[in-house]
Amino acid sequence: MRARPAKARRAARRPVIPGFGLTLGYTMLYLSLIVLIPLSATFIRSLGGGWEHFWNVVTAPRVVASLRLSFGAALLAAAVNALFGLVIAWVLVRYRFPFKRLIDAMVDLPFALPTAVAGIALTALYAPNGWLGRALLPLGVRVAFTPLGVVVALIFIGLPFVVRTLQPVLEELDKEVEQAAATLGASEWQTFVRVILPALWPALLTGFALAFARAVGEYGSVIFIAGNMPMKSEIAPLLIITKLEQYDYSGATAIAVVMLMLSFALMLGINALQSWASTRHGAT
């Protein structure tokens, strides 16, 4: 068979639907202006003072403490969300109880509520004279203005991510497989651990990663309840702002770059996780 002339081949590859150049061009333009250029400014600026300066800034005790708090609290909060989010998703998908639909809709509240509102509400709630703070005081637990408050705020923020990632997976679980396990003599717990949980792992990890990513950079819901004491309850974004106000641009950008690198790595990890999840065991 003779190869078609180059012109015909090119014509064959041209898309039928119009607007490719226009839409792709606009998309790239928008992205460049809004995202790429500003972000690259950050990276460039951070190295403005040289690598050694960058390193010094980033390893300063106060900076390290703030990064540790931001990432540590985010990790803990995401872990709590993973556990309770699983329980909540399970309950919403498998059981029937009054007001279930209303409660299901409420799970999205942390997603829809402005972070500042969440921040002052949580503070009011957990302050020593707040509804919950009052109850926890005799137990010796102080939430507001401590790192624990940061964790609580981050739990609030990250909850919908875990629940909403788990729900579709739970809904799609094959009932027959669970019944098969029962006919083979497995108890409910055994069925859960050996049959259901393995199917849930990818979604659980994804939800965890999403909650974590969201919590790491969180600002509005945290600064009211955090206490913001340097070295103790100061989150990294707040430190960035502090440095900005002092016109320490290189310092601010250095911290920003570290956070960005870690967040990007996280995002790549999430994407890899999702493609792994959809191809494991030669999925059917």
Binding site: T23, Y26, V35, T42, V117, L244
Partner: protein, 304 residues
Amino acid sequence: MEVPAIAAAYEVPVSRSLRRRDPRQGTRWGRFVLIGVALAFLAAFVLLPLLVVFAQAFSKGIGVYLAALSEPSAWSAIKLTLTVAAIAVPMNLLFGVVSAWAITKFQFRGKSALVTLIDLPFAVSPVIAGLTYILLFGARGWFGPYLQAHDIRVVFAVPGIVLATIFVTFPFVARELIPVMQAQGKHDEETALSLGAGGWQVFWHVTLPNIRWGLLYGVLLCNARAMGEFGAVSVVSGHIRGLTNTMPLHVEILYNEYNYAAAFAVASLLAFLALLTLAGKSLLEWRQPELKHGTRRARADLEK
């Protein structure tokens, strides 16, 4: 197929006494515990914060509540929030539609990289988003001197706030449209083209009606986030009372002045907005169930 000697494989069972539990009792108990834990958790972490907002807002009576809202700086904060949303949301709507069209109707290399790029704002702390604009347009930014020379104010002024808001909220519409349009494929558009319709006509008469609900859904989420954005706007705005304060920033100012009732009053408006958003979201999900949780799985399909 032969049936080989199966002595080892199967032991003829001797009549055994079968355990007789009634685990239905256990199951019911377990069920209650799980539901209880879930509800308790949700009450503590979701319901109570919501209630506190309204409780505190009205704690000094409705008179104080209304006064807080009609105070001039509060009023200008409300206006600014609405203005910013009125600019940012349509722009992101346009971007969402255009980028979803580019991604779902065509094949090209680097598509998944593009989609990841669109998701970028979710990985960036809002404070960092604001920071980047300071770096570009602030007094010591790249364009700082140029802007000062021409007396254009970007940061510490409304344009900066709009930009920061756009950064944080532009993925929302795109993320909702991409799976919707991906699922619908190209058939309708190709059919319309073969019948002689032009590009714009195809979009207006064929695509748009199909993506109506996804579009509305994305706009709803985009708007909620745009009006509620705090971190990015906080960095960029300069907190100039009456001029560059959005509602969330105004809440912060009132709170830091220990004017709790007023702070929560303004916050209650935002909370009310959140509830409206949730109601709208539920309504749309009920109407088009694919919108629910659609995003994640469809993304995986895209990358194949």
